[in-house]
Amino acid sequence: MTRTLIWLPLLLFLAFFGLFASGLLKPDDHLINSRLVGQPLPAFSLPAAASDRPALDSTEFATGKPRLLNIFASWCVPCAAEAPQLLALKQAGVEIDAIAIRDARPDVDRFLTRYGNPYTRIGLDARSTVQMALGSSGVPETFVVDGRGKILHQHIGDIRADDVPDILKIVKDAR
């Protein structure tokens, strides 16, 4: 009994060592994914965020066609960086709706004139309420929603050029 017990500290240490090593080896992943992926989009209704785009309502997602829901803000620098990729997705025939977080209409208008406007509808979420309801933790983020209003995928952070094919594929598979 005591013979084996005295090796216990070393064994415990080795377990911790393994834990530390695995912690070092795993890729740095501080992203918090939404738990709603695979579930229906929560119900919401937001006023229009831009002068020339209509408001956004969650019922508009269950229309038989998959759509992207982009979470962005005019004050967010990476959002400007992902604008070309969103335009490319729009070109490829993907419908994109958006929610502008903690924003104001003149700022959104200016942002859209400067970086292009790939959006069909834009809702204004001034207090991040819908962002919370979606389980989204920052800007920009993009959700893929299928034709029945179910969330299929969440992309956290700006969409880079090499992410575009993956997102296109998810949208295509949803049809």
């Binding site: 919370m132 933790s137 920052g138």
Partner: protein, 135 residues
Amino acid sequence: MKRLLALILLVFAAPALAQTALPPAPYADRQLDDPALEAKARDLMTTIRCLTCQSQSIADSNASLAGDMRSEIRQRIAQGEAPEHIRAWLIQRYGDWVSYVPTAAPILWPLWAAPLVLLFLGGLLVRSRIRRRRR
């Protein structure tokens, strides 16, 4: 001169650091009028983890999303929602990570059992050191 320059810089540079174009949400930094409700909200806020920070509760964070979450929580508490209901609502969206109070999920059972196990093992060890009967 350098100081003056720095002051001018300060005035113009401040908005560039902002995380939002809007002022904070109504109840982000405003307490509820009823102290009992405010205490309830405060207890909940100190145990909800800020999503955009390193390792802070939303009660201790300047991040604008944390401010919006505080406002949301205060408003819901004011409407009579139970704090644990709000916590469950958040966990449903962000997972167990968002709650600083470890939940009762099976993966957390060992964590809750740890104090009992350690005290029990320690107790055994101590008992072996103490003489049972006086000689």
